[in-house]
């Protein structure tokens, strides 16, 4: 009998705990233990990226990470992006530019895009396509996804510029 392991992770800002078998995959921890079913399982063989989440600030495929490896980590899933009332710029980009059809791949793609935009708010089309190398969409043909990412990057850039113009309370510009 293998020893169970107490996993503690911060998911979308909230600390969550579970006692798990070491062989449990991170994607199953999120979906089955924490009921965060926005993270999808497509191929289960590290190819499609539908299971992509942020782990300690980096996009990873959660079907290829053991839950125990994530013990102590910060995880962000698609549920942590925005809400229906207040979409995250990436979600708004996919909405406005028709970046999805069936939507199955979309949570993973948005998290991969999140990983890209966090390091590079001004990606070229080639850089966007490179960041999409680890995700597969069988519907859209990617063209609209690229447009969605460009739109999201622009929205985030603009909002950052605005917040730079407005002086912080008590601070200087």
């Amino acid at each position: 009998m293998t020893k169970k392991w107490n996993v503690e992770v911060k998911v979308n800002g909230r600390v969550k705990r579970a006692e798990v078998e070491p062989r449990l995959l991170l994607v199953h921890l999120l979906r089955d233990e924490f009921n965060l079913t926005g993270t999808h399982i497509g191929c289960d063989t590290s190819q499609c990226g539908a299971c992509t989440v942020m782990m300690d600030g980096k996009a990873v495929k959660s079907c290829t990470v053991l839950a125990v490896q994530a013990d102590g980590a910060e995880i962000q899933t698609v549920e942590g992006l925005g809400t229906v009332d207040q979409l995250h710029p990436i979600q708004a980009g996919f909405w406005e530019k028709h970046g999805l059809q069936c939507g199955f791949c979309t949570p993973g793609i948005m998290m991969a895009v999140n990983g890209l935009l966090q390091d590079n708010l001004n990606p070229s089309e080639a850089e966007i396509r490179d960041a999409l190398d680890g995700v597969i969409c069988r519907c859209t043909g990617y063209q609209f996804i690229v447009k969605a990412v460009q739109q999201a990057a622009e929205t985030i850039r603009n909002s950052q510029q605005q917040s730079q113009v407005v002086p912080a309370e008590g601070g200087s510009v």
């Binding site: 392991w5 070491p22 590290s46």
Partner: protein, 285 residues
């Protein structure tokens, strides 16, 4: 897909990892990024009794220059290597190769040490390691050891790593000033691994004579190899297109070409020639 049950422990230091390997009586396996091991365990092709997670061992992370060598901690990820300022300044070819590994998510988890220790015959870094006279730094029960890459890589997924040793770092020789390096890869269209990957380092004198040449090839066969015959042919000769072509035609001579559904051994030998020629033209052109 779910792996067979196993025990999981975390090592906080290199000595602890060695002790845990010792305690596991041959049943233990180290896990770094897990991006070669976890897929194998999900297919139940690898069923370790205990996984020893070394990813917390900070002394095995990061990149430094020691003399004329660049030392990359085993736990440094491919994404970190691709962006590292010391790598970009002294060994840009390593970043060039790291960027061609898998995809963004894979590069965020996979490590340099894991890539070399796994000895996947289609992995990219073995070719770079061979062309840059890499040395594998190990720590085991009897202390530290430095093993040249050619004595470390023995075959497909086979290395000379003792059962209770840890790869702590890989050091790469910074090639002499004036040399150029490149890594060119023919991607497998489905897996993205190298069908053939060629790393070449080359330099020439003011008169145009080749005074430095190293070529490492991965993917083509059971084990990455150095193209000693091609190197020997070219060394000391004028870096002309004719000589580069002749050297490239010897590229497959030092490896046993593999064969699978995707590429015959004949085709792989041809790719070795074509990619070696392209790489040599780039570094000696």
């Amino acid at each position: 897909m779910i792996p067979v049950s196993f025990d999981y422990v975390r090592a906080a230091s290199i000595p602890e990892a060695i002790q845990l390997l010792k305690n596991s009586n041959g049943e233990g396996k180290l896990i770094a990024g897990g991006h070669s091991l976890v897929p194998l365990m999900k297919f139940r092709l690898s069923n370790p009794g205990t996984l020893i997670d070394i990813s917390d061992v900070n002394e095995m992370k990061g990149v430094g220059i020691v003399g004329s060598r660049l030392v990359v901690g085993a736990l440094t990820t491919h994404a970190e290597v691709a962006e590292d300022t010391a790598v970009l300044a002294h060994l840009p070819v390593l970043a060039e190769a790291a960027k061609q590994i898998g995809d963004m998510q894979v590069r965020n988890k996979g490590t340099v040490g894991g890539n070399i220790a796994h000895a996947d015959p289609s992995a990219d870094l073995p070719a770079v390691a061979l062309a840059l006279d890499a040395v594998v730094h190990l720590t085991g029960e009897d202390g530290e050891e430095k093993v040249p890459i050619q004595e470390f890589l023995l075959g497909p997924f086979i290395t000379s790593l003792p059962e209770t040793s840890v790869v702590t770092a890989i050091s790469f020789a910074v090639p002499p000033a004036g040399t150029q390096s490149t890594y060119l890869k023919y991607f497998h269209p489905a897996s993205g691994y190298a069908v053939v990957g060629v790393c070449a380092v080359g330099g020439k004198t003011a008169e145009g004579l080749v005074n430095h040449v190293r070529i490492g090839i991965t993917g083509a066969g059971d084990c990455a190899f150095r193209t000693e015959q091609a190197e020997k042919f070219l060394f000391g000769k004028p870096a002309t297109l004719e000589n580069i072509k002749q050297a490239a035609s010897l590229a497959a001579a030092d490896g046993d070409m593999g064969e699978d559904l995707f590429a015959s051994s004949e085709y792989r030998a041809h790719l070795c020639k074509v990619y070696t020629e392209r790489a040599l033209r780039k570094v000696l052109g």
